[in-house]
């Protein structure tokens, strides 16, 4: 099984995952990416540190999948 790397961007800030990790199957990789994105977005959105989180998963160097989560608040009271 090849190694998967999860590079994470919060707004512009990139945190690279150089070590990577192995998974039992590609389904597990997808689940990990979605759960990670959701969990990071929760912290970032609530604290206000970022409004866009991207989990860029690469199989070795090749793009494998990308999860993007964006906070979109529409305030109806603002003119």
């Amino acid at each position: 099984m090849p190694k998967f790397h999860f590079h994470i961007q919060e707004n512009g800030r990139l945190i690279r995952d150089d070590e990577g990790q192995e998974f039992a199957g590609t389904d597990e990789v997808r689940k990990e990416a979605v759960a990670t994105g959701a969990s990071i977005a929760r912290d970032a959105f609530i604290s206000g540190s970022a409004c866009r989180v991207i989990v860029d998963v690469r199989e070795e160097e090749a793009p494998f999948l990308k999860v993007s989560i964006t906070l979109d608040v529409e305030d109806s009271t603002e003119s």
């Binding site: 999860f6 990990e32 990670t36 969990s39 990071i40």
Partner: protein, 243 residues
């Protein structure tokens, strides 16, 4: 390992946290304890198992955890030398969670019957052990607040500061560095986040110059930032008889 060495960390901790008397210490040292060496990542006692003895950690680290029917594991607590993580099994006969080793451990097993006799003979010791299980519950309350309310970086910092406070009480902190032998996956299981998120939090704390976590060892880079992030108040550890 001699009886004195096996109970050394326990005695040291009970002296500071509970003010145990020398006479009571002697009775603890005289207890028949079966010593066993465990490798890392081994079950000591499993969820659903009927326990007949309690386990005193003489050296090493253990964790208590519970696994959902979907196979998701939540680490509930980390345990260090001088602690008896399954003391409640003396009264709660069937285990409701797992106790396992995180590192190679030297464990001392004390039969329930021995502890029951000790409690009858020395009510002071019974009270001290009772207090110990209450502090255990206080730590669980703090763990719930931590996992439920703090953002992930603060959550990790809080677990680290608590562990450091407890390690200090048994003389296992070297200046700004101490052991926290968890893998990234286990950090995730403790904090209720994915291993990848745990990895990201660890990197962020290092990039921000707060704390370095590498190969199961924590090195504090900036003490005041570390404490501020952890939002830590040690009162719930009740580390002195007056608390």
């Amino acid at each position: 390992m001699s009886a004195e060495t096996i109970s050394a960390a326990l005695v040291r901790r009970l002296r500071t946290s509970a003010g145990i008397s020398d006479e009571d210490i002697e009775t603890i040292r005289a207890l028949p304890i079966t010593v066993k060496e465990y490798a890392a990542d081994r079950a000591v006692v499993r969820d659903g198992q009927r326990a007949t003895e309690c386990c005193l950690i003489a050296e090493g680290f253990c964790a208590r955890s519970k696994t959902t029917s979907e196979g998701k594991r939540q680490i509930l607590s980390i345990h260090i030398a001088g602690e008896i993580p399954d003391l409640m099994s003396l009264f709660l006969h069937v285990m409701d969670h797992d106790l396992s080793t995180l590192t190679p451990c030297t464990l001392g097993f004390i039969a329930h019957e021995t502890l029951q006799q000790l409690h009858r003979r020395r009510p002071n010791v019974a009270e001290i052990f009772w207090r110990d299980t209450l502090i255990d519950a206080a730590m669980f309350r703090e763990w719930i607040v931590n996992v439920g309310q703090r953002p992930a970086p603060a959550r990790l910092a809080h677990v680290m500061v608590e562990l450091r406070e407890r390690l200090k009480a048994v003389g296992r902190v070297e200046r700004n560095s101490f052991e926290m032998p968890l893998t990234q996956e286990q950090v995730g299981e403790a904090l209720g986040i994915t291993a990848v998120h745990a990895n990201r939090v660890i990197k962020q704390l290092r990039q921000d110059g707060i704390v370095e976590f590498h190969r199961g060892r924590v090195t504090v880079l900036d003490e005041s930032k570390f404490e501020e992030l952890a939002d830590f108040d040690n009162r719930y550890l009740h580390q002195s008889p007056a608390l």
